[in-house]
């Protein structure tokens, strides 16, 4: 019947200066009109269900995006965790190696210091030895002088022996022997003096070598000290790196929690779609109920003998009110009946979460 109405409308569209719908309505019977209105109620109801379906599809898509976002974030955090773990492992290895190098450098420094101290002792001993050699050289000069005096004494003795004639012959022999001895001791003293001079030269050379070695060791010690300073700076950097890594990990964990909580809250708020679905389904059911009521009332009005009298319309309000599940539905209902505007509607004061 309804299809007939639309068919007639289409036919009338062809003729000019006529409203096709009005012409079709004129041609309809009361039963056809009633069925048309029923169809309109059904159309509204179906539109509402279709809208619910659209919201479901879109919300499902949003949930899938959020799941994807969560997975991506999880992967990102895991990758960062692995990266930090590797970096931390490398840092640990490098630090261990540096600590070993630091220990070696420290040992080298200690050894250099010990060598420097040994050399200083060596230098002191060599100084003492050189002094003793110098002293010996002075003794050799004294020996030389004594030898010369003995020689002079022997000469005088020989002169006196010659003057004594035959009686001094034996004494002359002794004087000559003493002279020989003085010459020999003078020669020996001269030789020893030369040897001591050479020894003194060698000693000076040794002192120079020791001084060079001491200079070299001092330079080595300076380098080692600088190396230790550098290592201390490196350890300071490592400490900073450790602190930065710890801070970084804490920040990543903190941000990850924020992201997870945000995703969780969005997912929770998505439940509004179920709230809207139930509210729209309730409206669709009421539209159908009004359609049925309308049909029934019309039939009864046309022939009261065929049907029982329909319930009074105001009773529909009670029926609707009893079917509500949400506070908001009840508030809207009461405000509508009381003539209160939508803007003055109050939200439910009941707690959202209640543990028994």
């Amino acid at each position: 019947m309804v299809l007939d109405f639309f068919a007639k409308s289409q036919e009338n569209q062809a003729s000019e200066n006529t409203n096709p719908h009005i012409e079709a309505l004129k041609a309809m019977s009361d039963e056809e009109r009633l069925q048309t209105i029923d169809k309109i109620y059904e159309l509204i109801s179906n539109q509402i269900y279709s809208t619910i379906k659209i919201t479901e599809e879109h919300i499902t898509s949003v949930i899938n995006y959020l799941q994807h976002l969560y997975e991506e974030n999880k992967e990102l955090v895991e990758t960062l965790g692995q990266f930090i773990s590797s970096a931390s492992s490398y840092e640990s290895e490098i630090r261990n190696m540096s600590e070993e190098n630091f220990r070696l450098a420290k040992q080298l420094g200690r050894m250099s210091l010990e060598n420097i101290n040994h050399l200083k002792e060596h230098q002191t001993r060599m100084g003492l030895l050189a002094n003793q050699i110098n002293e010996l050289s002075r003794y050799m000069s004294s020996v030389n002088e004594i030898a010369e005096q003995i020689s002079l004494l022997a000469l005088n003795a020989a002169i006196e022996a010659a003057r004594a004639g035959e009686y001094g012959r034996g004494f002359e022999v002794v004087a000559n022997e003493i002279k020989k001895l003085s010459v020999k001791s003078g020669k020996t003293a001269e030789d020893m003096g030369k040897k001591l001079k050479n020894l003194s030269k060698e000693m000076l050379k040794e002192v120079a070598t020791v001084n060079e070695t001491a200079d070299f060791l001092n330079v080595t010690k300076e380098f080692t000290d600088r190396l230790l300073e550098k290592y201390n700076a490196i350890f300071h950097k490592f400490q900073n790196m450790d602190r930065d890594i710890t801070k970084g990990i804490a920040k990543i964990e903190q941000k990850n929690i924020v992201i997870l909580n945000d995703i969780a809250d969005i997912l929770g708020n998505i439940q509004f779609q179920d709230v809207v679905r139930q509210a729209l389904e309730a409206i669709a059911q009421k539209v159908k109920r009004i359609g049925d009521y309308h049909t029934y009332s019309w039939r009864w009005a046309k022939d009261p003998s065929l049907e029982n009298k329909p319930v009074e319309p105001y009773l529909l309000f009670d029926e609707f009110y009893k079917s509500y599940v949400m506070d908001q539905q009840r508030i809207t209902h009461q405000n509508t009946l009381n003539g209160t505007s939508e803007s003055t509607e109050q939200s439910s004061q009941a707690p959202q979460i209640e543990l028994f």
Partner: protein, 122 residues
């Protein structure tokens, strides 16, 4: 060991959102789309650590489900997550052994806080 949460709701989007939220927080999730299916699963030996159920569902509603489920699972906490706000239904749920009442929509962090309260050590 991961705790298992059983979600019962006739809305696919609600199940999806709850499942994602709970799995993100380390829980294992099982689901059913009405009270009858959920009860059959429990009757076959499934023992979740927590049940979160809707109230208005086809085939078997949440209150009927709690009434029957309590015969099998006497101490498992049961939370009701619903759009329903009628006090008489809340009272009935409490009488039947529900643990708590949550009105949709509930933010994910609030839900997790409630789950941690009723599932200590989770």
């Amino acid at each position: 060991m991961k705790k298992t949460i059983f979600i019962i709701d006739d809305s696919a989007t609600v199940i999806m959102s709850l499942k994602t939220t709970l799995e993100m927080n380390g829980y294992t999730v099982e689901s059913a789309s009405n009270g009858k299916m959920a009860l059959d699963k429990i009757a076959s030996g499934f023992k979740p650590d927590l049940i979160i159920t809707d109230l208005n569902m086809p085939t078997m509603n949440g209150l009927e489900f709690i009434k029957n489920a309590r015969q099998i699972l006497k101490f498992t906490p049961i939370l009701i997550l619903t759009t329903e706000s009628e006090q008489s239904k809340k009272d009935e749920a409490k009488k039947l052994g529900a643990t708590g009442w949550l009105v949709k929509p509930v933010a994910g962090t609030d839900l997790i806080n409630v789950v941690k309260k009723v599932l200590p050590g989770s």
